[in-house]
């Protein structure tokens, strides 16, 4: 969680310096969601999300250097600098993006679940969306097929309460995203997405359900993003007090720190060491993202089509 936060803070700095351009959607505030889910996954499980994806990638174990270098548009990035913030992938880590069209990742994630079932590999697809995407029609087309065919997919609705600048109240008739699978007999539950242990326990229930062949499951994560929708958003649609209240009362990292010291009995020294290590990892990522060369001009015309017939 701390890695994600420090990474995103640095990404914001690099954006301010002009080293990162275009769209850059930070995950700060929502860290407990991805870390809690990741903690119970198995290697064959697949992950897919939308464009607020840096946290998902770091949680999946992708190299911070490759992620940061993609943000700066360098050849050392996960997509060789050709994807950018919203479009990164790792077959090795079973991370399937990184999608820029709101809601489009939901049928794709359902398709990953279709492939898990078809291949009988016991994998589960973790398909994330925001509260904004949860109103897209294709989400409900996906719920229908996932339930109809009992696909092993867990739909995660990361409800940070704002679809860009439009609050949940102004965009969604009916407050409960977790209950929107009822018509298709998909169980759902609402989870405090700011609390790592709550996320982990709910994710375990949901993933077990899907892995057991019982079909999809919906988890609504009640969470909050501290920054604007993207780097160009000053977030004037909500009050400073609202943001500050969440930061003070519900911060996922503060919460986890208390859990570490009080419950897990981890010493302050050990925590300090973790913090120092993360600082180094992030600084190395920043350094790599600055020194990795831009993609060779010849890369403009590569990776458009795969060559040959890849049938084995």
């Amino acid at each position: 969680m701390l890695l994600i936060r420090r990474f995103e803070e640095r990404a914001a700095q690099l954006y301010g310096m002009g080293l990162i351009a275009g769209f850059c959607h930070l995950y700060i505030g929502q860290e407990a969601v991805v870390v809690g889910i990741q903690s119970i996954l198995q290697p064959q499980d697949t992950i897919i999300t939308a464009y607020r994806d840096h946290g998902h990638m770091l949680a999946a174990g992708m190299d911070p250097k490759g992620v940061m270098a993609e943000l700066t548009g360098r050849s050392g990035g996960y997509s060789k600098g050709k994807g950018g913030s919203m479009h990164m992938f790792s077959r090795e880590k079973n991370f399937f993006g990184g999608h820029g069209i709101v809601g489009a990742q939901v049928p794709i994630g359902t398709g990953l679940a279709f492939a898990h079932k078809y291949k009988a590999d016991k994998g589960v697809s973790i398909t994330s969306m925001g509260d904004g995407a949860a109103n897209q029609g294709q989400v409900y087309e996906s719920y229908n097929m996932a339930s109809l065919w009992k696909l092993p997919v867990v739909f995660i609705v990361e409800n940070n309460h704002y679809g860009m600048g439009t609050s949940q109240e102004r965009s969604s008739a009916g407050p409960n995203y977790y209950g929107r699978g009822q018509g298709w007999n998909i169980p759902g539950e609402k989870v405090d997405g700011m609390v790592y242990t709550a996320v982990k326990e709910a994710a375990a229930r949901a993933v077990d359900h899907a892995r057991a062949g019982k079909g999809p499951y919906i988890l609504e994560m009640d969470t909050y993003r501290y920054r604007g929708h993207s780097m160009s958003d000053p977030a004037k649609y909500r009050s400073k007090e609202e943001v500050e209240t969440v930061k003070v009362d519900r911060d996922p990292i503060d919460h986890f720190r208390i859990y570490m010291t009080k419950t897990l009995k981890i010493s302050e020294d050990k925590i300090k060491k973790i913090e120092d290590d993360i600082k180094v990892v992030v600084l190395e990522a920043v350094e790599f993202s600055k020194t990795s060369p831009e993609p060779d001009p010849s890369e403009l015309y590569t990776d458009i089509l795969n060559e040959g017939n890849a049938v084995t």
Binding site: T46, I48, G77, Y78, S79, K80, G81, K82, G83, H87, M88, F89, S90, R91, F96, G97, G98, H99, G100, I101, A104, V106, P107, I108, G109, T110, G111, L112, A113, F114, A115, H116, Y118, K119, S125, G137, Q138, E141, S142, N144, M145, L148, T302, D303, I304, L305, N306, E307, G308, N309, A310, V311
Partner: protein, 340 residues
């Protein structure tokens, strides 16, 4: 039933309808590769809205022949995800008109992701189904999408005419590691051709046009059902003393520019035929390519025979007027030969 004779009779070839050839092509590939599956509306228990998947459910079962709900956007996206997940989906649209619901998944997800991922995320998927006008089905069921999809890097677009090509190119599309748009034609489904290979290993490379009728006076390019009209026109033109060469494009993207250029270098005249609208159509692209590659060989401006620039009308007489007819092709050929 008439059997359309195609070029170069071969003792190894057999006669069948386009519908049967497509079915056999899919069945052969499904026997060959267990990751290939077919999904779409009515493909399984109904045996296909146009009976293209006749018998496939019986042979391959419901795991691999999957009836979907009527949700094109969702199941096209699901197919893309399945392809990312290691399968080789064939996604049938009952007609390509309905692919408009799914076009975001086809272009933004299937076509672009290989590039956006720096080459990691190949998407081996076939989107297939009938395309273009059938008969009296009105404006929302008569649309030809060749130029829409051909516009997009990351896609291949194939549109065969004969049964043999339909089978061999569909097999190639299924084996292709890229997303392929496979545009069929409802009116051709029942046509029988004598050019179908029964060798399960026979595939045609995507991207090669075929000269269906050699000639020296004018080149006529066409694809799908318009190839038949172009061949008819060529026979009529022969009686007028005009020897037309008819090129069946077969693949729209990649386009076999070389074959067209070589033909134009010989005939110095070009008529392109397509049933879709003129603006930014395939004919427009071919005209531009000829300016770039064969400008000095053209003795007349390239002539585009296209559908009328209107939504398809229902009335029989208006529909007839809206679609390219043999007479239109004849007149165009005469015009570029300055014999009108």
């Amino acid at each position: 039933m008439t059997v359309e004779k195609t070029a170069l009779p071969n003792p190894g070839l057999t006669s069948m309808t386009v519908r049967e050839a497509l079915r056999d092509g899919m069945a052969e590939e499904m026997r060959r590769d267990s990751t290939v599956f077919l999904m779409g509306e009515e493909v399984a228990e109904y045996n296909g809205a146009y009976k293209v998947s006749q018998g496939l459910l019986d042979e391959f079962g419901s795991k691999r022949i999957v009836d979907t709900p009527i949700t094109e956007h969702g199941f096209a996206g699901l197919g893309v995800g399945a392809a990312f997940g290691g399968l080789r989906p064939i996604v049938e649209f009952m007609t390509f008109n309905f692919s408009m619901q799914a076009i975001d998944q086809i272009i933004n997800s299937a076509a672009k992701t290989l590039y956006m991922s720096g080459g990691q995320m190949g998407c081996p998927i076939v989107f297939r189904g009938p395309n273009g006008a059938a008969s009296r089905v009105g404006a929302q069921h008569s649309h030809c999408y060749a130029s829409w999809y051909a516009h997009c890097p990351g896609l291949k677009v194939v549109s065969p005419y004969s049964a043999g090509d339909a089978k061999a190119l569909l097999k190639a599309a299924i084996r292709d590691p890229n997303p392929v748009i496979f545009l069929e034609n409802e009116l051709l489904y029942g046509h029988t051709f004598d050019d179908v290979s029964q060798d399960p290993d026979y595939v045609l490379p995507i991207g090669q046009a075929l000269i269906r009728r050699p000639g020296k006076d004018v080149t006529i390019t066409a694809f799908s059902i318009m190839v038949g009209k172009a061949l008819e026109a060529a026979e009529a033109l022969a009686e007028l003393g005009i020897d037309a060469e008819v090129i069946d494009l077969r693949s729209i993207r990649p386009l076999d520019t070389e074959t067209i250029v070589r033909s134009v270098m010989k005939t110095n005249r070009l008529v392109s035929v397509e049933e879709s609208w003129p603006f930014a159509g395939i004919g427009s692209e071919i005209a531009a390519l000829m300016m770039e590659h064969a400008f000095d060989y053209l003795d007349a401006p390239v002539f585009r025979v296209t559908g009328a620039d209107v939504p398809m009308p229902y009335a029989a007489n208006l529909e007839h007027l809206a679609l390219p007819q043999v007479a239109d092709i004849i007149e165009a050929a005469k015009a570029v030969c300055y014999k009108s």
